[in-house]
């Protein structure tokens, strides 16, 4: 497949402080004891998309990510790691690496996507419709821990989180409207012209743009170049393309560039469209074509472009690790309901206990749990729905529920951890009670203290 993949891995994202640090940039955050980036890379490998550029924000982070990738994927994928300055936005990141993009189509994936939707399917949908952009759209993930407090649950019922408002055509193949939920304060404004062209538009608020896009390279580069103020793919480029699909600005202005690509195989191009029509079961012409045929008076080359949507089926798992809440959710899900993603084989008790780990007497590890390599647990501990990293030392009478404990963590006797995230190298002394806390790397929680809903980090020196 002539597809080049750009993985936007991010850097030290602010939303994830204190989980991320200089040592652990966002792409390397562990999800079920594997860096989150590995989930994307593995899916790409499965779809046989092996030509990748991983874009990381910040030089240091890029070095770390590059080091990890070259270790883990050396013979499996062809990966280049590119560093871009921080805060250039997703569009800026692509601008920075524009000259490395050579393939006809570009697949842009966010590095924090944990999903089992095959990227190949998105690429195929893109090709089938000869679209300018294809966006992968999934249903909004269920947020919050399963047994979360009733107060929080109530709020959520009242106002479900809205990621995107998405307008689709009745066949659910074309993207007609997109806005992010937060932006729409009062009213949606939907252009009548597109509605007239398509007749019916289904507007859905329960879908999410999963940040996996297939672009035509020529179009993408042109938009990035012409619209220098575009900062983000999701907020600027995609809505722009969707909005102008009936009166394409890019293709009109960009005909020389587009043709330069297409000229050498004009005949095959036209063949391709025929094939693509057959593939798309286009017994009835798509509305774009109908619309164009109405405007037949004008001799212009092409007036419309297509924006497609690939809707992931509900059974697929799809989530983005872009908040602390999402981090806990994804960790929970990957060892829980979406455990096929983790790549581990689960024991009969529906948990994973590394053979090199040691459990004390009367210690129980419940289902949907994971215990990493070389971790030691004392007596009478209880672990429920939690992930524990490698080489942790856990004392006796420790309770760990709904939590993520990363590598090299020491937990003192009698401590209780609930709904919390404990980063690497943290020391938690005796009888500490943590509820809904995040403990930054290397922090020491003194004995007997109790914390609830706090975020504790070591002061940066």
């Amino acid at each position: 497949m002539d597809f080049q993949v750009v993985v936007l891995a991010g850097g030290t994202s602010k939303e994830l402080v204190p989980l991320v640090s200089k040592e652990v940039p966002k792409p390397l955050l562990p999800v079920a004891n594997r860096p989150v980036l590995s989930y994307v890379l593995e899916q790409l490998e499965l779809s046989n998309l092996k030509d990748l550029i991983v874009v990381v924000e910040g030089e240091d982070a890029a070095l770390r990510v590059g080091g990890w990738i070259s270790g883990a994927y050396v013979d499996r994928l062809h990966v280049e790691v590119a560093a871009v300055p921080e805060d250039v936005g997703t569009a800026g990141a692509l601008r920075a690496i524009a000259r490395h993009l050579t393939a006809k189509d570009i697949l842009v994936v966010s590095g924090d996507l944990v999903s089992d939707v095959p990227p190949g399917a998105v690429a195929a949908a893109h090709r089938r419709h000869d679209a300018v952009v294809t966006s992968m759209i999934c249903s909004t993930p269920v947020s919050g821990p399963v047994e979360s407090g009733s107060v929080g649950a109530k709020d959520k019922i009242k106002k479900p989180r809205r990621f995107n408002i998405i307008g689709l055509d009745p066949t659910k193949q074309f993207l007609l409207y997109i806005a992010s939920g937060a932006e729409v304060e009062k009213d949606l404004h939907i252009a009548k012209s597109i509605l007239r062209a398509v007749g019916q538009m289904d507007i859905q608020a329960d879908l999410m743009d999963a940040h996996m896009y297939a672009f035509k390279r020529a179009v993408l580069l042109e938009v990035l170049e012409q619209k220098q103020n575009f900062h983000s793919l999701r907020h600027d480029v995609l809505p722009y393309l969707v909005r102008t699909q009936l009166k394409s600005e890019i293709l009109l202005n960009g005909t020389p560039q587009a043709e330069e690509n297409g000229h050498d195989k004009v005949t095959s191009e036209s063949n391709q469209t025929i094939i693509s029509q057959i593939l798309a079961n286009a017994s009835t012409p798509r509305f774009h074509e109908v619309y164009e045929s109405i405007q037949n008076g004008s001799p212009t080359v092409q007036r419309t472009h297509k924006c497609c949507a690939y809707i992931a089926s509900n059974s697929k798992y799809c989530a983005r690790l872009n908040s602390i809440q999402a981090f806990s959710d994804i960790n929970r899900d990957v060892i829980g309901e979406a455990n096929h993603l983790s790549g581990y084989s689960f024991s009969v008790h529906n948990n994973i206990i590394h053979p090199s780990s040691e459990l004390g007497s009367k210690t129980t590890v419940g289902p949907h749990c994971m215990l990493g390599e070389g971790s030691l647990m004392g007596d009478k501990c209880s672990v429920k729905r939690s992930v524990i990293g490698r080489h942790c030392r856990i004392g006796s009478n420790v309770k760990i529920v709904n939590s993520v404990v990363m590598d090299h963590v020491t937990l003192g006797d009698g401590s209780s951890i609930q709904g919390s995230i404990v980063c690497s190298n943290v020391q938690i002394q005796e009888r500490v009670v943590l509820k809904d806390c995040q403990i930054g790397a290397g922090f020491v929680v003194s004995a007997g203290s109790e914390h609830k809903g706090e975020s504790l980090t070591r002061k940066e020196k």
Binding site: P160, I165, A179, K186, H189, K192, Q200, M201, D202, I294
Partner: protein, 726 residues
């Protein structure tokens, strides 16, 4: 409790069994779209493929299981009632037809209020107008409605809709109705938004965010057509009574319910997939529906099936229907999709295609009729040519006359020999009612409910009376507009905007209009693109920067500009007419209050015209100009003394003057400091203002300091003088 519940269920069942399905049929459209014909005849009695429209509606209601129909007659009520009495409908078993007559209803809302008062509706009912052609089964829709109603008492109405995609080019459906945007919940089929064309000209449809909060998904439709068949609960009538300002069923009632979230009434939709339903709204729908009937989409309500008092015709090849007793010359050529009524005679070599010819017509030889609707007892003499016209009862078209596309000839009009009736003209024996004829109409034209049938209102009655007397006089048509021997008036088309005439006419849409519409569509897109590009790059409006806001901004600017213009005009007038300064001050003050401006604004606005005045009087040298200024200023200085009392206002004045010297009236630039001195002497400007202005300019760019420098000396002198005083 349980017993009660049971009792209630039983009651429900009883109710269902006891209450026959009722229908309200509005035999009045409360519009003027079928004028001039409706001046003489009610719309529901107009023949549609040789059968009065109301018969289609009644036949369908009867076949759909409606047992009791209340026919609301208003315009020409006598004619409707007479027709019904003479018809078969009163003799049907299990089908009662009751007429309700009113003379002062001017809208569907009034009609429903009246029916509510009569207290004849006892349950769910079907609300249709008498111009509906349908063959849909009501059973399913009524069942759905009742079930919904059982679950949710607020589900008061079910609207029947049908798929029909309007042309994206001319934005109207094939029925000639305006495009319609609806938002429907795909699961419950609840109607969430109903928007007809023209309400949001901005090219975007807005959907309340709150709707999305309640429904995760919404379907927006542009491809549905409102059939104007509603299944209503009894509440609908009382709702009309409660909201006495509801007039139009859609514009007021439906929108009112959708907007009102206090009562929480809900409207649902029922989509029909395979059956037919349409309403004759205008001449174009008349044309379209006639064709649908001929092409048998409305089966069993087609010309060769007897469903009312119509006489059956015989279907021949190519969709030709011929009634018995027609006489047709051997050489006459009758084309496809044509209906020929009983007793019609067609002469030699005449060609008729895609047309409907009524009963008892006489068509001469060499006549060509294409796509036209010719009613009963029409005489068309030799050599006439008719294209896409409607010709009513008793019309005589004399030899060699031509009707261009879109012509409507009302009852008994006579077209003179070899006369060419121009396209889209409407011809009637009656003169076009002028706007003054009925105030009523004007009033309702405003809220665009399309005005009213003429005979409803008093004014209309008067008009009718006038007409009767007029036609009883033997008119002298010799000076007719319709050629030699013609009789009738050509109505000027421009009461609804002549450009739009083609939209609703029977004639096909002319290609030049299509081309125009195409261009407009392009523009439309352009506008959308431009508009949205002006928004945030993400294409959504930023909160707060809503359309309204920009409107306000516009308003504001317009206001300011208006104000300045008006102030200037006021001043000029005062200067010309030599009005005393005190009077001018009064006038300016009232202006200031009406625009809500400050005194300083006024001074600023008046300063410019004053200086211009100085420029207007002839001068050769700067000294002369200075003299001119001195004379003007001395005349009007009092004005500014009153208006620019505050130091800030005076500074404003100086700045304004600076601006003028730089831009509009550069002539003053060389003598800036002299004029400043003058203004100081005449007490228009105080020292304080001049000092402050000087201070403000100290840090400004060199280019802004030109005039400060120029008046350096003067300012220095001023400062020294002040010090001395101290």
């Amino acid at each position: 409790m349980g017993a009660q519940k049971k009792g209630k269920v039983a009651e429900d069942a009883m109710e269902l069994a006891r209450n026959p399905l009722q229908a309200i049929l509005l035999a009045d459209s409360f519009t003027t779209k079928f004028r001039p014909i409706t001046l003489e005849r009610p719309k529901v009695l107009l023949p549609l493929v040789n059968v009065p429209m109301i018969d289609y509606t009644l036949a369908w209601l009867e076949s759909a299981g409606v047992e009791e129909v209340f026919i609301f007659c208003c315009a020409h009520s006598r004619q409707v009632m007479d027709y019904l009495e003479s018809s078969e409908w009163h003799k049907q078993p299990n089908f009662t037809v009751t007429t309700i007559e009113s003379h002062n209803s001017i809208s569907a809302g009034d009609a429903l209020r009246l029916i509510y008062e009569r207290n004849v509706i006892h349950g769910d009912f079907v609300l249709v107008s008498g111009d509906t052609v349908s063959n849909m089964s009501l059973t399913q829709a009524v069942k759905e409605h009742k079930e919904r109603r059982k679950k949710d008492n607020n589900a008061v109405m079910t609207m029947v809709i049908k798929k029909s995609k309007p042309s994206p080019v001319i934005h109207q459906s094939r029925l000639g109705t305006d495009e319609l945007f609806m938002a429907i919940d795909p699961d419950t089929k609840q109607l969430l938004c109903y928007e007809e064309r023209g309400e949001h000209p901005r090219g975007a449809i807005s959907i309340d965010n709150a709707l999305l909060a309640d429904n995760p998904s919404i379907s927006l439709h542009n491809d549905k057509q409102d059939c104007y068949i509603d299944i209503c609960s009894q509440e609908v009538l009382s709702l009309f009574t409660d909201n006495f300002d509801y007039q139009h069923l859609r514009r007021h009632f439906v929108k009112g319910l959708l907007v009102d979230d206090i009562m929480g009434y809900k409207i649902f939709t029922h989509e029909i997939l395979s059956s037919y339903a349409a309403r004759i709204d205008n001449y174009r729908s008349y044309d379209t529906i006639s064709k649908d009937i001929i092409q048998r989409w409305t089966y069993p309500f087609v010309p060769d099936v007897k469903f009312s008092a119509n006489c059956t015709t015989k279907l021949e090849r190519e969709g030709m229907y011929k009634a018995p007793e027609t006489q047709q010359s051997r050489s006459a050529n009758i084309g496809p999709f044509t209906v020929i009524g009983k007793g019609t005679r067609i002469g030699d070599d005449s060609r008729i295609t895609h047309s409907v010819i009524g009963e008892g017509c006489t068509i001469g030889s060499n006549v060509s009729i294409v796509g036209s609707y010719i009613w009963n007892n029409v005489t068309i003499e030799d050599g006439c040519e008719l294209r896409h016209a409607i010709v009513c009862d008793g019309v005589i078209i004399k030899e060699g006359a031509t009707l261009e596309p879109g012509v409507v000839l009302s009852l008994k009009v006579v077209i003179g020999r070899e006369f060419v009736v121009p396209a889209y003209s409407k011809v009637s024996l009656f003169q076009q009612p002028t706007a003054q004829d009925s105030d009523e109409e004007l009033e309702y034209a405003d809220n665009s409910s399309g005005a009213i049938d003429p005979s409803i209102a008093d004014a209309g009655n008067k008009l009718n009376g006038g007409i009767v007397s007029e036609s009883s006089q033997i008119q002298d048509w010799s000076s007719s507009q319709l050629g030699p021997g013609g009789a009738g008036f050509i109505w000027s088309a421009c009461d609804g905007g002549c450009e739009e005439e083609w939209r609703h006419s029977v004639a096909p849409i002319p290609t030049d209009q299509l081309a125009k519409a195409l261009l407009a569509m392009e523009d439309d897109l352009e506008i959308v693109n431009v508009q949205e590009n002006a928004l945030t790059p993400s294409g959504e409006l930023k909160p707060g920067s809503d359309d309204d806001d920009s409107d306000n901004m516009d308003d504001f600017n317009v206001d300011t500009v208006d104000f300045e213009k008006e102030a200037e005009a006021t001043f000029m007038r005062a200067a010309e007419d030599n009005i005393a300064v005190d009077d001018l001050i009064l006038e300016v003050n009232s202006l200031r209050l009406s625009y809500n401006k400050s005194a300083g604004d006024c001074a600023g606005a008046l300063f410019y015209p004053m200086m211009k005045l100085a420029l207007e009087s002839p001068y050769n040298t700067a000294v002369e100009l200075q003299k001119n200024v001195a004379s003007v200023v001395s005349k009007w200085h009092k004005l500014f003394e009153v208006l620019a009392r505050e130091v800030d206002d005076q500074i404003e004045l100086i700045m304004k003057f600076e601006e003028m010297c730089l831009e509009s009236t550069k002539e003053f630039a060389p003598i800036f400091s002299q004029i400043l001195h003058l203004l100081y002497q005449t007490d228009i400007l105080g020292e304080e203002a001049i000092f402050k202005w000087d201070d403000e300019r100290k840090d400004a760019d060199e280019s802004d300091r030109v005039f400060v420098k120029q008046s350096e000396k003067f300012i220095q002198w001023l400062r020294e003088a002040e010090e001395e005083e101290d």
